[in-house]
Amino acid sequence: MVTDRKAGFPVAAAVPAMRQKKEGMWKQTLKRLSKDKMAMLGLVGIVVLVFVAIVAPYITPYSYETMDTLNMNVGPSWQHLLGTDTLGRDYLSRLLYGSRYSLVLGISSSFLAVFLGIVIGAIAGFFGRWADNAIMRMCDIIQAIPGVMIAIVVSLMLGNGYWVTIWALAIGGCSHGIRMTRAQVMSVRSSEYLDAARTVNCSTFRIIVKHILPNAMSPMLLDFTMRIANMIQFSAGLSVIGLGVQPPTPEWGAMLSAGRDFIRSSPHLVIFPGLFIFAISFFINIFGDGLRDALDPKLKK
C-alpha cells in the first residue's frame, strides 16, 4: 500500500511553487509507465477496443440486429468474417457492438465497487468503534462467500438485466475496497496533518475527501483498473449459469453463454466472444501490472 505522503498529498492542493521543485507523483508515475513496453502494449490494446466501442455503428459491416436468413449459423466466411449466429445475425458486428456493453459493464461495475468501498471503508476507518466493528464483521462474512455467489443472490433479489448485473457485481466486489480504504484511513488517522486540519475546523467530510482519500488514490486506481477485467469475466460467468445479462443484448458474456448450446455444430459462437473477453482482460492485466510497478517502484527490482 502506498503511503507516499510527501509526493501523494500535495497533488490535490498543490502550490504551484512546490510543483516546480519536485515533480508530482502522477507525473513521475506516467513517466515510469511510458517506459514499460508491456504496459504500453496493454494501453494500446485498451484504447483500440474503446475506440472500436465508440465507433461501432460506423465500422460494423452489418447492423447487429439484421438477420441474414440464408446464412444462419454458418462459420467464418468472406461474407461474414466471424460467421453468423443461430438467427443469422453477423457475429462480427454483434461482437463489435458488444464491446460497448461489455466495456461499460466492466467500467461502471468496477467504479461502483471501488466507490462503495471508499464510502463504507472511510466510514469504518474514520468513525471507528461500533461502525467499524459492524462493517468489518460484515466484510468477514462476505469474504467467506465466494463473490460469484453474492452476485447470484443479489441478482436473484434484483432480477436479471444489464444494470442489475452491474449492481450485483459491484456489491459482490466491494469488500476488498472497504478493507483497503479502512486500512488506509487507519494508517493516516493519527497523523499530524489531520490534527492540523482539525485545528482549523475542517468538517469531517472535508477531511475525508481532501486529506485522506488522495493518499489512498493509487491503490484505488490500481484496484479499479484490474477489476474491470474481472468484472467482465464474472458477468460472463453469471450469464453462463443463467443469471446476469441475457440475450438478445449483444454483450460478450451473454453471447458466449447463448452459443454454448451450439458448441457441437458451431464452435465459433463460443470461441470468438471468449476471445474478445480474453483480449480485453489480457490488455487490462498487463497494463495494470505495469501501473502497479509505476505507482510503487519499490516493488520492482
Partner: protein
C-alpha cells in the same frame, strides 16, 4: 497456539452463522411470491394463501429467520426443496464430497504446480525461462475459466474424443474441470511466489548465510523458502475462495453433479430452500478452507506464534510489515514450538488484519 486455533475456529463458526443469516435475509426480500410461482395458473387467491401457510411464508420475518437458523444449526436440516420435494441437506450431503474432491484437486494442482514454477522463475530471474513464464502467466490469468473449459471440450471431447466432457463416471471426467479451474490459480500463484522469493532473495540474512559459506541449496531451503512462504499462504487463501466460486460455473459447464450444479439448477426453478442451502454449504466449505489457511499461518509465521505465546504482547501497534522476519526464521520455526524462542523484531500484527488486508496487490478473491 491452542488459543490461536480456538479463536480461528470461533471466527469460522461466526462467519458461517453470519453467512446463513445474510443469505436468509437477502432472499427473504427477493420480490415475487414463491407461493404464486409454485401454484398452478388457475389457483384461486385462497389456494395461494393456503400454499403460503403450508410453506410457512405467512409468518413474520423474525420467526421465519429463527426457524431457519434453528433448523439449520441445531437440527442440521435445511428444509425441503420446493421443486424436488426432497430434503435439501441430504441432497447436498450426497453432492458435497464430489464438489469437495473437485475443489481439492484444483487446489492441489494449483499449489503443486504454481509454487515450484514461481520459485523456478525467481531463481532464473531475468533469463528466458523467467520471462517466458511471466508472459505465459499473464496470458493464463486473463483466460476466462469457463471459456478455457469450453475450448478444452471442443478440442479434447468433440474433436479428439479423448476425454469425456461431462459426468463423473471415471477419473478422466475430472481432468478437464480441474485443468480449467486450476490454470488461472497456477499463474497467479506462480507470480506471487516469484515476487515473494525475489523479495526475500535480497534480504541481509541471505547475504549473511552465503557469506558464511552455506551451500546454495541450504540457503534456498532453510532461509529463502520459509520466509517466502507467508505471502504465498496469503494469496492461497484468496485462490481457494476463487476455486470454490469457480466450481459453480465449471460444474454447470461440465454437468458435474456437485453442489454448484444443484444451486444453478435451483436458480432456474426459483427453489429458495435449495438455493439458500447450497449457498450456506458452499460458504461453510470456504470458511473451512480459510480456517486451514489461517492455521497454516499459525505454523509458518513466528509472529503469530509469538503473539499467542506471550499474552502481554497481545495488541500490536498497527500494521507492521508482514514480510522478512529476519535471520534464523527457518530454525525458529521448528524449535520455538513452545513459544520460547522469538526471532522477530517487527511489532506483532493483529492477525485478523494481516490475513486479509495484506493482499493489496493480489487479484481479487472472487
Amino acid at each position: 497456539m491452542l488459543k490461536y486455533i480456538l479463536q480461528r475456529i470461533l471466527l469460522m463458526v461466526f462467519v458461517i452463522v453470519g453467512a446463513a443469516f445474510l443469505i436468509f435475509t437477502v432472499m427473504y426480500f427477493v420480490p415475487g411470491d414463491p407461493a404464486q410461482v409454485m401454484s398452478s395458473a388457475d389457483a384461486t387467491p385462497a389456494d395461494i394463501a393456503a400454499k403460503r401457510a403450508e410453506l410457512g411464508l405467512d409468518q413474520p420475518y423474525l420467526i421465519q429467520l429463527g426457524r431457519f437458523m434453528y433448523n439449520a444449526f441445531v437440527k442440521f436440516d435445511l428444509g425441503n426443496s420446493w421443486a424436488r420435494g426432497t430434503s435439501v441437506m441430504s441432497s447436498l450431503l450426497e453432492r458435497l464430497p464430489r464438489t469437495f474432491l473437485l475443489g481439492f484437486l484444483m487446489i492441489v494442482v494449483t499449489v503443486v504446480v504454481g509454487i515450484p514454477v514461481g520459485i523456478g522463475a525467481a531463481i532464473h530471474r531475468g533469463g528466458w525461462q523467467d520471462r517466458s513464464l511471466m508472459v505465459m502467466s499473464m496470458v493464463f490469468i486473463s483466460v476466462p475459466e469457463f471459456w478455457l473449459a469450453l475450448l478444452l471440450i471442443i478440442a479434447f471431447s468433440l474433436n479428439l474424443g479423448w476425454l469425456p466432457s461431462f459426468g463423473i463416471e471415471s477419473w478422466q471426467c475430472y481432468i478437464l474441470p480441474v485443468i480449467s479451474g486450476a490454470v488461472a490459480g497456477i499463474a497467479n500463484l506462480a507470480r506471487q511466489s516469484r515476487a515473494s522469493v525475489l523479495e526475500v532473495v535480497r534480504a541481509d540474512y541471505i547475504t549473511t548465510a552465503r557469506a558464511k559459506g552455506m551451500k546454495e541449496q541450504l540457503v534456498i531451503y532453510k532461509h529463502m523458502l520459509p520466509n517466502a512462504l507467508i505471502p504465498i499462504i496469503t494469496i492461497s487463501g484468496s485462490l481457494f475462495t476463487r476455486c470454490v466460486g469457480g466450481t459453480v460455473v465449471l460444474e454447470k459447464i461440465f454437468s458435474f453433479p456437485g453442489v454448484g450444479l444443484y444451486m444453478t439448477d435451483s436458480i432456474g426453478m426459483r427453489d429458495y430452500p435449495a438455493i439458500r442451502g447450497s449457498v450456506v454449504v458452499l460458504a461453510a466449505f470456504t470458511a473451512l478452507l480459510m480456517l486451514i489457511v489461517d492455521l497454516a499461518y499459525g505454523f509458518a509465521d513466528p509472529q503469530i506464534k509469538a503473539q499467542y505465546a506471550d499474552s502481554t504482547k497481545r495488541k500490536g501497534h498497527g500494521r507492521g510489515h508482514g514480510r522478512g522476519h529476519g535471520h534464523g526464521h527457518g530454525r525458529g520455526r521448528r524449535r520455538s514450538f513452545g513459544g520460547k524462542e522469538q526471532h522477530h523484531d517487527a511489532a506483532p500484527v493483529p492477525d485478523e488484519e494481516r490475513s486479509r488486508a495484506n493482499g493489496g496487490e493480489e487479484k481479487d478473491s472472487w
